[in-house]
């Protein structure tokens, strides 16, 4: 082989070696497969397909919330209010159902509160140029406060529509999923499509890449930023409904800290915290990784459930360092 050929081959090799944009997602996928592999090798029952389905059943609401969080983080923002909004949505649903409102109306109201709060927070963040961290922290306290204002104790849900949605089993062969899982998958599909194929979605990436540039390129930066917080609010509301299906109650202190789980899932799914790079599919993998870790610890039986947190903490560290090592950081275009 001549040197030219060799260098050409080397050149070709470097061109193909790094699918950098997808690399973090591939790492997440690898991690998930390793976790699952460990489970299968340790416990015979782990290979049952229902284990996977259960991960979806137990974490559907988290996945929906994390999908909304993905939009926000892709713009370089953060939304700390999601856990409280989930709880508030569940609380409002439970309280209104207890008061005898028709389920359809309850659904509508519950699904409007979250996006409204998100819209308001987005407007505050954009028009007053306040850090998303602070604004959504305020939103978090506000929504959590509303929960306890509605009721300081748990409200059970006995409505027929809710109980049937909770208990309906959709059979797939010998196994089953719940209605919630189907809703979750629809949300994931719509979100993935939005990010990849709509101008809104592409503007989200552009803003995360360089907000100043996005502005100078004439993109609707303000509208898009407000939209992502509204979307996150809507996802939290859907997550809240799913959670109320799951627990058949509304409790003021449920889903405390869920915003952190959602952020963890998004980051472990390969989305950059500084924004601009990431996929909904990655977030799905991130939630699955968290779910499989929980399942592993449940299967073990001797480990304290807090081990989930310890492992998640370790993984988060690893992923943030990985992002840094891969050289994902804001490229500065500074002159000189």
């Amino acid at each position: 082989m001549s040197t030219t050929q060799l260098s050409e081959r080397l050149h070709g090799a470097t061109r193909w070696r790094l699918p950098r944009r997808q690399l973090p997602v591939l790492v997440s996928l690898g991690l998930l497969l390793v976790m699952y592999g460990i489970g299968v090798s340790q416990y015979r029952a782990f290979s049952n397909i229902q284990v996977i389905f259960n991960v979806f059943i137990d974490n559907g609401f988290l996945l929906v919330v994390a999908v909304g969080m993905t939009f926000v983080i892709l713009t370089g923002g953060i939304d700390l209010s999601v856990g409280s909004v989930v709880a508030m949505t569940a609380m409002v649903s439970a309280a209104l159902l207890r008061d005898g409102l028709p389920p359809a109306l309850v659904l509508l109201i519950a699904l409007l509160i979250g996006p409204t709060l998100g819209f308001v927070m987005g407007c505050v963040i954009h028009f007053f140029e306040i850090q998303p961290f602070i604004v959504t922290l305020a939103g978090m306290f506000f929504a959590r406060g509303l929960c306890t204002w509605i009721s300081s104790s748990s409200i059970p849900i006995t409505d027929g529509f809710w109980t049937s949605a909770a208990q309906e089993r959709i059979r797939i062969g010998d196994n089953f999923v719940t209605v919630s899982v189907l809703i979750t998958l629809v949300v994931v599909a719509v979100a993935a499509y939005t990010l990849a194929y709509t101008r809104l979605g592409r503007n989200v990436y552009a803003i995360g890449g360089n907000q100043q540039s996005a502005l100078l390129m004439g993109l609707p930066v303000g509208r898009t930023r407000i939209a992502v917080y509204t979307i996150s609010g809507l996802c939290s509301a859907i997550g809240g409904i799913l959670l109320s299906f799951y627990t058949l109650s509304g409790a003021p202190l449920i889903a405390v800290g869920m915003e952190l789980d959602a952020i963890a899932a998004v980051v472990i799914g390969g989305t950059l915290l500084i924004g601009g790079a990431g996929y909904v599919l990655g977030t799905v993998l991130g939630v699955l990784v968290l779910g499989v870790i929980q399942t592993l610890i449940t299967f073990d039986g001797t480990l304290n459930s807090w081990w989930t947190k310890i492992v998640i903490g370790g993984l988060l560290f690893a992923f943030i360092v990985l992002q840094r090592l891969l050289g994902f950081r804001k490229k500065s275009f500074s002159t000189r």
Binding site: A196, R202, Q212, A214, L216, M217, T335
Partner: protein
């Protein structure tokens, strides 16, 4: 060209900022199919003119027409839609998106609301092929060289049916080959009939590509010239200007005698001091009571050299000695400890804290020198501040006034007062008189003379040669990031001689031009 009508005219444009007249009755016209260089020193009003044109700023007087129709854009987006596109010095694209997407984002081809990726990539390839660029448009923009990014930005700009393309210092971060590539594209676009406004401070590039030149100085129009009729030396002269306003003329100083001050150990001595990519190694001594002028165009490395003295940048080669003892200045704090003071040229962004009062701003450096654990007593603060407000005639003479409410000249005096209070032995002044009114200018110049007579060593950086000549004992001339020569300020030195040095090989170049 005389038979075509200008595609764009700007007539009698004025723009005022609080305390500053940024543009004063400036005319500008642009013909289709020409490259028109917009020249001027920093603060001459180039950027303001462009921002007025593209609607970033409004204008206070004057009119703009595009194709004979009066226009007034509300912002860059509207200007772009009307065919006036700008490519900024810093690439304003998204590094995390592909080349194709950067060209088309915001106006992607769609069907039923869905972005048609394949169509977009095909059109991007075609567009870049038109500019003779062979790129994988699916690659991330961030993986491309700066030059390619710059060209992608141009591709984005011209795809919107641009008729006027503004290139704001596009070449300042490119290497020679990349500049060539960019020039080729500029020529091609010009031949397609696009009018290009080219803002740069590289004279060679202007003479290589520009058809006409408009020169601004201090917010005023100096003139519009065909490139072929304006030798490089004349251009530099017009950019720098020769203001000999009676108001700012100082009494001719008898004491500007180099031999008298160059005695004893220099206060600072730089030997082969340099920093890769910033300023080439240079040697310079500054003695007690000596004013060393530093002349050169914008971007010639003047500020960069001064920053090495102050430790704001760290030299990666050479030595620096203070009072004959070698020192390593690791940062501004070390410099302040050695009584070196630095008045930055960007007083708004680097020097002053706008929200703090005059008093607080003045005390800042003294406090830093003492360390934060030993606060300056309030009474002493008031005493010192009052003294300097009087000495420098800072107006309004109110120590508690927030600094941002002061005019440019008075802000500059506050910066000066801050450093004078620390009683520096070397005072570095980077363009201390730029953008301030003539009265304040004269006061600051007088002060520099006084200080040096009192024994202070001063490094005085200015683009205004008259001012440098008036104040300095010797003049160090910078060109292309090199200290090219050091001239004693004796009777034989005049602005023309310095200008010739600044312009460099200008004379020969004019001889070989065949136009």
């Amino acid at each position: 060209m005389s038979d075509t009508r200008p595609v764009l005219t700007m007539t009698a444009i004025s723009k005022f900022f609080p305390g500053v007249r940024a543009l004063d009755g400036v005319d500008f016209r642009l013909f289709p199919g020409e490259v028109h260089a917009l020249m001027g020193e920093n603060g001459a009003g180039k950027s303001t003119l462009i921002k007025v044109l593209t609607g970033v700023y409004g204008h206070d007087t004057g009119a703009i027409t595009l194709d004979g129709q009066p226009v007034s854009f509300s912002g860059p987006m509207e200007a772009t839609e009307a065919g006036v596109s700008t490519v900024y010095q810093e690439v304003n694209l998204c590094p995390n998106l592909s080349v194709a997407e950067n060209i088309f984002i915001g106006r992607q081809p769609r069907r039923l609301g869905a972005v048609r990726w394949r169509d977009m990539r095909r059109r991007a390839s075609a567009l870049l092929a038109r500019l003779n660029l062979d790129l994988d448009v699916g690659e991330l923009l961030g993986n491309q060289s700066l030059a390619v990014q710059q060209m992608v930005a141009i591709a984005r700009a011209v795809d919107v049916q641009a008729r006027v393309l503004i290139l704001d210092e596009p070449t300042s971060s490119l290497d020679a080959d990349e500049v060539k590539q960019l020039m080729r594209i500029m020529r091609q676009l010009r031949d397609e009939g696009i009018a290009i406004v080219f803002v740069t401070h590289f004279l060679d590039q202007v003479y290589e590509i520009a058809d006409r030149i408009t020169v601004l100085r201090n917010g005023r129009l100096v003139g519009e010239y065909p490139t072929a009729e304006l030798p490089q030396l004349a251009l530099v002269e017009k950019m720098i200007g020769k203001e000999l306003d009676a108001l700012e003329r100082l009494d001719e100083q008898a004491g500007r005698d180099l031999a008298a001050v160059e005695t004893g150990t220099p206060v600072v001595e730089a030997t082969d001091l340099g920093k890769a990519g910033s300023v080439e190694p240079f040697s310079l001594t500054i003695h007690r009571g000596e004013v060393v002028g530093m002349a050169g165009l914008l971007g010639s490395g003047r500020t960069e050299a001064a920053r090495l003295f102050f430790g704001a940048d760290r030299a990666d080669r050479g030595r620096l000695a203070v009072d004959g003892r070698p020192v390593s200045i690791r940062g501004p704090i070390a410099a302040i400890e050695r009584n070196i003071a630095f008045c930055s040229e960007n007083r708004r962004t680097e020097g002053l804290v706008g929200e703090l009062s005059v008093r607080e701003n003045i005390i800042l450096a003294l406090q830093a020198a003492r360390g934060w654990l030993r606060p300056v007593p309030r009474r002493r603060q008031d005493e010192l501040v009052q003294r300097y407000i009087e000495a420098l005639s800072i107006r309004p003479a109110d120590p508690e006034m927030p600094v941002r409410n002061l005019s440019g000249g008075n802000q500059q005096k506050v910066v000066l007062a801050r450093w004078l209070i620390t009683e520096p032995r070397l005072l570095i002044l980077d363009e201390p008189t730029r953008g301030i009114d003539i009265g304040a200018k004269a006061e600051i110049q007088r002060l520099v003379v006084q200080l040096s007579d009192g024994g202070m060593a001063v490094l005085f950086i200015s683009a205004e040669l008259e001012e440098v000549l008036r104040l300095s004992h010797k003049v160090a001339v910078m060109r292309d990031r090199q200290l090219v020569t050091e001239l004693a300020n004796d009777d034989s030195l005049d602005a023309d001689r310095i200008m010739r040095v600044i312009a460099g090989g200008a004379e020969q170049k004019d001889g070989t031009r065949h136009e």
